[in-house]
Every structure is written in C-alpha cells, then in structure tokens.
C-alpha cells in the first residue's frame, strides 16, 4: 500500500513534468506543424536559470520572504526568462526559414537544440550541478497512517496541475483559445477571420517554453541533480506523451504526460526499474497501433 501510494505520487510528479513539456510540443506543432526539437532544451535552460536564481539571488529574498519566496522567485524568473528565450529562438532560428519549407525548419530546430544545450554546457559546465538543499524547504506532510509526502512534492503537484488547468481553460474555453485552435486547423481561413498569425506564434513560443521552464525548475527542486543534456531524455519522454495523447491538442498532452508518468513509476516500483524505458516505448507502440491519432486526437471527418 505504501509503495503503491509512493509510486503514484512519484508518477504524478514526473507525469506533470512530462505533461508541461508535452503541452509546449503540442502547441508549437499544432500551429506550426513543427516538431520543436529545441523544446527539451528549454526545459534544461529553465532548470539552470532557476538553479542560478536560487544560488545567487535567494539570499535577500529568502531572508525577507522565506524559503518559499526564493523558490517562487526562481520559478517566475525561469518562466519569464524562457518566455523571452522562446521568442528569441523563434525570431533568430525559425522565422528566417519559414518560407523555405518544413525540412529546413526541422534542421533549424535541431540546430537550435544543439546550440542551447552546448551553450548551457559552456556557461554552467559539463558536470552535474545540484540544486542547493538549503534553499529547499524540507518539511513533510503526514497524509494518514505512515504515509508522508514532502512539502515540495505537494507544491510541485499543486502548481503544475493548476497551471495546466489554466492553460487548458485558455486554449479550450476562451475565444482566444478558439483562435489558436482555428489557426492550427486552417491558417488561411483563420486569417480571413481577422486572426493575426504572428500573435498566435508569439503565444505558443512564449507560453510553451515557459511551461517547460516550470517543469525544469521543479525537476531540479525534486531531484536536485541537473545536467546540460537532460533535456534530451525528458524531451523524448514528453514527446512520447504528446504522441500518446494526440499531437496538436492540449488535453491530449496533459493526459498523455500524466498517464506516461504514472505507468512508468508503477512499472518501476512493481516490475523493474531497468526495463521501464522499454515498457514506456512499448506503450507508445501499442497505442499507435490501436489509436494512431492518439488517445484524444480524434479526427472529425470533413464532409464535402
């Protein structure tokens, strides 16, 4: 029972990281039809930004507002930084090649990915860095019986799920969200509605990376160790989650991410840790065979 609950919270935690990163993949893909290879590196960069803020900037903030204040600052700083970073990457790496077609864009995305991860290595070094344990509240909450959950994990889950809900609401329930989805479906007709494609691009390239940065900071806060190329693994899992949920739609990315995290953790806890990645990609294959459009990616037949 204890192991089950533990693996469930672990699964939800890592699943929420996958989901946050997956939402970024999905948004950009939906609107641009581009698999943004640099997205995993946004996650890493966010994590390093949060780390730096926590290490150098936390002194005053922590003294004034307490440990949680420092963490909030790290999160907000990383998200803001990556929102700007995402826009910058769009501007310098993608916009110049839009007219050149899909393939150059993909190559440019790969280039951006390599550039960012090597940039991180150049700035912060090639070795693991550790989030300062003194900057992270170490309290735990007793749920019931002998079940404890660290405060930081609880906050991770609460903030991640809340933010997901907010993005879900914006994309699925507001007129602006409808404009984003319409642009993803048919850019030309969306233009006829008066929708400015540029502003939709700005939305996906700022919010997507910011969500990735949030996941990155939380990964550092929960697992402490970060390294310049960790975006690869997380990015691949998150991309898998995107496909499982159905690429291009936000609820799919959320469901896919959480589901993947849960299954992975349960498998790790009850079957084998060494085989968990095999298991994860087996799930991907099975889902692709049974539902090629993903769990939520339903295609509505277009009638003539």
């Amino acid at each position: 029972m204890q192991l089950l609950l533990e693996q469930l919270t672990n699964g939800l935690t890592i699943g929420s990281f996958y989901a946050l990163v997956a939402m970024g993949y999905s948004m950009v893909y939906g609107v641009m039809k581009l698999i943004n290879f640099a997205h995993g590196d946004f996650f890493t960069l966010g994590s390093y930004l949060g780390y730096t803020i926590l290490v150098i900037g936390s002194g005053w903030v922590t003294r004034t507002f307490g440990l949680w204040g420092g963490i909030a600052l790290a999160i907000l700083g990383a998200m803001l930084g990556l929102a700007l970073g995402g826009l910058l990457v769009e501007r310098v790496a993608y916009r110049p090649v839009y007219k050149a077609g899909r393939l150059p864009l993909v190559v440019s995305a790969l280039g951006a990915s390599i550039f960012i991860s090597n940039g991180i290595m150049a700035v912060w070094g090639p070795r693991f860095q550790a989030y300062p344990q003194t900057g992270i509240p170490s309290g735990t909450l007793r749920l019931f019986g002998e079940i404890y959950i660290p405060d930081i994990k609880l906050v991770t889950l609460l903030v991640s799920l809340t933010l997901m809900a907010v993005i879900y609401f914006i994309v699925e329930k507001t007129l602006f969200g409808a404009a984003v989805r319409a642009t993803a479906l048919d850019r030309e007709t969306a233009t006829l509605m008066g929708i400015n494609f540029r502003s939709i691009i700005l939305f996906v390239f700022s919010v997507g990376p910011a969500l990735g940065a949030l996941a990155g900071v939380f990964a550092g806060l929960n697992y402490s160790r970060i390294i310049f190329n960790m975006g690869w693994g997380y990015g691949l899992k998150a991309f898998t989650a995107t496909i499982i949920g159905g690429i291009g739609n936000i609820p799919g990315a959320m469901v896919g991410g959480l589901l993947l995290g849960l299954l992975e953790s349960l498998f790790e806890g009850f079957v084998s840790g060494a085989w968990k990645n095999v298991f994860v990609f087996l799930i991907l294959i099975v889902i692709l065979i049974v539902r090629p459009t993903g769990l939520i990616g339903e295609k509505v037949a277009e009638k003539v």
Binding site: A178, L185, A190, L192, V304
Partner: protein, 213 residues
C-alpha cells in the same frame, strides 16, 4: 462573377482579401488602397470573405466558429451588437441554433455552408465576398442559400460579390455581372443585359449545362 472552372474566380477573391499577393494593379475598398493593410486587418475594414469549400473549423463547435467570425471586429462591435447579430443569424439559419454545441465537422454540407455564411456575416461586413456557396448542395438547399443571399443584400444593405458556376441562378439575383475567362473580364453588364447576351446564353446559360440547373 461567372466563369468556368479554373477561370480565376477564386484567385481574384483571394487577391481582394490579401491572401494572394498582387502582381499589378490596385484593390480599393471605398476609395482606400488595400495594399497598405495586412490580410488579417481587412475584416476590421468591413470585408468578409466566405471561402470556397466552406472551410469551417471542423473540430471547433458551431458556436466557436461563429464567434471567431467576430475576431477581426471584436474591438469595434459591442457585446450587444454581436449578440444581436448572432440572433439574426440564428433566424436566418435556425438549424445553426439547434447545432450550436456540435462540432462543425459533423454538420452536413449544407449546414456547413450556412455556418460559413453566418461566420462571415457576424462581423457585420459592408462587403461580402462569397465563393461558390451553392457548390455541391442539393437543389432545395441551393434555393435556400440564394434566398438568404438576396435577403442579406436587401435587408442589411451588404454589398455582395458572388462567385458562381450556377449562372442562371446567380443572374437571377444579381444586379450586375462579370464574366471571367482565363483571368480576364470578357463581358460585363447588368444581369438583364447578360441574360440576353448571345455569348453568355450559349456558353453559360445553354440548355446543355443541365447540371447547373
């Protein structure tokens, strides 16, 4: 505007609404050169373009599709005006009210066309570009759509540039017509003149074009 398949009718409408760049010449709307605007700004100037093939947003609901029609003018129209226009569209096409929670992709072809027209009208345009609204519809629906087009023009004073292959029907509701042949205006005149024109009669209203009845 009449013309055979491939004559350039759709291209011309796309040029007017800025989707296709202009090689030469000017497009003016009420005296204003449109080249200084971006395509997405034209809705705010009072232009609505209902594209060929309906192009409804299939995985959005009927209501979301309609609401998006207001996007370009959302700062110009009040909530109330939009609500009233929507009501008016629901009286033009009552079926849309029934289906408003349904995904647009699940509508029949005729219903999608009604939605496409409604989505264009909800911005209260001064000029409406309509590309082959009767294409692929059952005769009874064609009748319905043409009735509404006439009504929009007469009651709401919307100027309409209608592209049609169904020449007979189009000339029956139009004031003025153009015949487009391989990208050039071959003939133009009032609808009555065109109906009497020998070339138009032979090529566009001929008895052999029964499928266009």
């Amino acid at each position: 505007m009449l013309g055979a398949n491939g004559a350039g009718k759709t291209t011309l409408l796309k040029v007017i609404s800025g989707l296709v760049p202009i090689k030469s010449g000017v497009v003016r709307l009420m005296g204003q050169d449109l080249s200084k605007y971006l395509p997405h700004q034209l809705a705010a100037l009072g232009m609505a373009h209902i594209p060929e093939g309906r192009r409804v947003f299939a995985t959005l609901t009927v209501e979301e599709n309609l609401n998006l029609g207001t996007w370009g003018v959302r700062h110009k129209l009040s909530e109330r005006q939009i609500r009233e226009t929507k009501e008016w569209i629901f009286t033009l096409f009552p079926i849309l009210r029934e289906r408003r929670k349904q995904l647009a992709g699940t509508l029949s072809g005729g219903e999608q066309q009604m939605l496409a027209i409604g989505r264009g009208l909800i911005s209260k345009p001064k000029i409406l570009l309509l590309d082959e609204p009767s294409l692929g519809l059952a005769p009874i629906l064609v009748q319905e759509i043409f009735r509404v087009i006439r009504q929009i023009h007469e009651e709401e004073k919307v100027s309409i540039l209608l592209v049609e292959q169904n020449a007979r029907k189009a000339l029956s509701i139009a004031n003025y017509g153009y015949i487009l042949e391989t990208g050039k205006i071959a003939i133009q005149g009032t609808a009555a003149e065109l109906r009497e024109n020998e070339h138009v009669k032979a090529a566009y209203l001929g008895g052999t074009r029964l499928r266009n009845r």
